[in-house]
């Protein structure tokens, strides 16, 4: 039963994936103009129509669009994601898979911070609903949401590193067990913090009004026990629901944070591709970013089905 659900869900994401690649590919082909002419235009052979035509034929750009698209999908599935224009003609796949683990670790630490801070804050705000504590927590999260990471990062860098001297060096990447990860991970976690706090707060308020919570209270359970046993379990679900959005937040946030903190991850790669107008690289990163969001949505749906017996496999 469950496996069938997994299979169905996987199958459903195939057309979405094809459409994602279609949009990316048509933007690249129709938008940016002839890639061959672009490359040749940057060399001394500029204007050499014969060369351009030969290269077009060799790379298959003279074929109809749909044929090229299907060909690209085929190549993408088999792992041939093209070569970067600029970075010594390296394979886009190799570049992405080299940087992705770094970003993944950074994202993992950020998610940990996010959950360990955001969920308790949301519960706190809900339990103390409409008190100054509730307003403080919500205002703090709105504030965290309002300051763009490319503003917050330089400010915190100067405050913590230069002025307070709490962190010796904050630039670079030494794995997740170094102090260098603290600032980038915290800033990355602050982006979706508001979402988590709001979701948790709202869910807990809903749950607190349920009959079974009133029953638990009525039979004399302490407030804390009620929260731990009844409320928390039901409050986690809405948080899971927004995980796709969180994944998108993390991918987006990593672009700014990795660039500012000099972390050689996926976000840094996107910025490099952007600065050098490296179209094959940008195509790869854009599609992979969509794959990340789609995958997290998929995982979330499956987790939902496992965690909540009320969800029907259908």
């Amino acid at each position: 039963m469950f496996l069938r659900y997994v299979g169905r869900r996987l199958l459903l994401s195939v057309p979405v994936m094809l459409a994602v690649i279609f949009i990316t590919y048509s933007l690249a082909i129709y938008g940016a103009g002839d890639p061959v002419a672009t490359i040749v235009g940057q060399t001394e052979q500029r204007g050499n129509e014969e060369l351009i035509e030969r290269l077009r034929q060799r790379h298959g750009y003279d074929r109809p669009f749909l044929v090229q698209y299907v060909d690209y999908v085929g190549k993408f599935v088999t792992g041939d994601w093209g070569t970067s224009f600029q970075l010594q003609n390296q394979s886009v796949r190799v570049l992405i898979f080299r940087t992705l683990p770094v970003s993944f670790q950074l994202g993992l630490v950020a998610v940990l911070i996010l959950l360990l801070v955001g969920i308790p804050l949301g519960i706190l705000a809900a339990v103390k609903q409409n008190t100054w504590l509730d307003r403080l927590v919500v205002s703090f999260s709105v504030l965290a949401d309002s300051i763009p990471s490319f503003v917050l990062a330089p400010v915190l860098l100067v405050v913590f590193v230069l002025k307070a001297g709490l962190i010796d060096s904050a630039i670079g990447w030494d794995g997740i067990f170094s102090q260098k990860i603290i600032l980038p991970a915290v800033i990355l976690a602050l982006g979706p913090m508001l979402l988590i706090v709001r979701q948790t707060r709202f869910a807990v308020i809903e749950v607190l009004q349920q009959d079974y919570v009133r029953t638990a209270r009525a039979k004399g359970l302490r407030g804390r026990t009620v929260v731990w046993t009844h409320v928390l379990r039901n409050a986690v679900q809405p948080v899971i629901t927004v995980s796709g959005i969180i994944a998108a937040y993390l991918v987006t946030g990593s672009i700014f944070i990795e660039q500012i903190f000099g972390i050689p991850g996926f976000g840094q790669l996107v910025v490099t591709g952007l600065r050098r107008n490296d179209l094959p690289l940008l195509m790869g990163t854009t599609i992979v970013a969509a794959v990340i969001v789609l995958t997290s949505n998929l995982v979330i749906d499956l987790m939902y089905a496992v965690l909540d017996p009320r969800v029907k496999y259908g």
Partner: protein
């Protein structure tokens, strides 16, 4: 930014009751918003921002491109309230022009993206056939891209195309407007942001209309022989308007943020055009020595987005009777 889904279901009975008391949802919302200090504070900041964006360039003491190479990187003074940047340009004037950029882009994106979203979302909900399904699949696809990445990618591919077309148009028509790279920039940025912003709105409207379509009071209206037009105008539109307004406020804030993020990455508004995001990245190297060059645009950006967030929350509480009662 996520679009808040706010189910508003106000039964016809409650509606009738309210009419007796001569109170409408809107008047209630207005009283509730006025009493909320956070929402009002946000509204005041937003008004200051709008005024600055509209009249700022006329009252600014200097031109935003005027360079004074003898007075570069001055700290704030009476002559230059926010100091000058590395080219000696008056920072206050550039902030004011940046406000205009942010306001212009965000307004266009919100209006165009919102309109597309509302129309497509309502179409998807009202037509149950292939069309509705196709629209929703399209939103699925567009929403599986992280917004900024799609925007960055579309920017990299479409900007040369638009600039090329602009050059051609200028050669053919000789109209001066097509010579301006700045207008091409604005067009690219705002087109791309509208492209990524409508799916959220479409989903919200579709969900709203779908839940209303089978609400009892709508069924009752239909059974009693009301025309579809009447149902749409009297029942669907008023009940969908609240969440749509709230979501438009959020969309405005996030469009501003996306514009400055694009400009920060160097793919939005190109120099010498002024954008807060570009101002931050231009001065990031100097940040250690001249902190005001980053703090001022960063602070202004954060404060305005903060205001939109609080205002949106206040509106949400005011327009959503369910959350107000709590």
């Amino acid at each position: 930014m996520s679009v808040r889904t706010v189910p508003v279901t106000l039964g016809d009975a409650a509606r009738a009751q309210e009419r007796i008391k001569h109170r409408s949802l809107w008047r209630d919302a207005w009283t509730s918003a006025i009493r909320n200090p956070f929402a009002m504070g946000g509204a005041i900041i937003i008004m200051v921002f709008v005024v600055a964006a509209v009249i700022g360039p006329y009252v600014s003491p200097y031109s935003y491109t005027e360079q004074d190479l003898f007075n570069t990187e001055h700290p704030p003074s009476w002559d230059h309230w926010f100091g000058t940047d590395e080219l000696g340009r008056d920072f206050l004037s550039r902030i004011l022009y940046g406000a205009r950029t942010a306001f212009l882009v965000a307004t266009l994106v919100t209006v165009v993206g919102g309109a597309i979203g509302v129309v497509l979302g309502a179409t998807a909900a009202l037509s149950e056939g292939m069309l509705g399904g196709a629209i929703m699949r399209l939103t699925d696809v567009l929403m599986s891209f992280p917004h900024l990445l799609l925007a960055v990618f579309a920017n990299a591919t479409l900007r040369p195309l638009v600039q090329d077309r602009f050059n051609t148009l200028h050669e053919i028509t000789g109209i001066g407007i097509f010579r301006s790279q700045l207008i091409a920039d604005y067009l690219v940025v705002f087109g791309i942001l509208a492209l990524v912003s409508w799916p959220g709105m479409a989903r919200l409207v579709r969900g709203q209309v779908l839940s209303l379509k089978h609400a009892e009071f709508v069924e009752a209206a239909r059974v009693s022989g009301a025309e579809p037009r009447w149902i749409i105008l009297r029942h669907l539109v008023p009940n969908t308007l609240g969440p749509v307004i709230v979501s438009l406020t959020a969309a405005f804030g996030s469009a501003m943020l996306l514009e400055s993020a694009l400009s920060y990455l160097g793919v939005g508004i190109q120099p010498p055009g002024a954008s807060w995001g570009a101002m931050i990245s231009e001065n990031l190297d100097m940040w250690r020595y001249e902190p005001h060059l980053v703090l001022v645009p960063g602070g202004v950006l954060a404060v305005v987005i903060f205001a939109f967030n609080f205002f949106g929350d206040g509106l949400n509480d005011a327009l959503n009777p369910r959350s107000r009662r709590r």
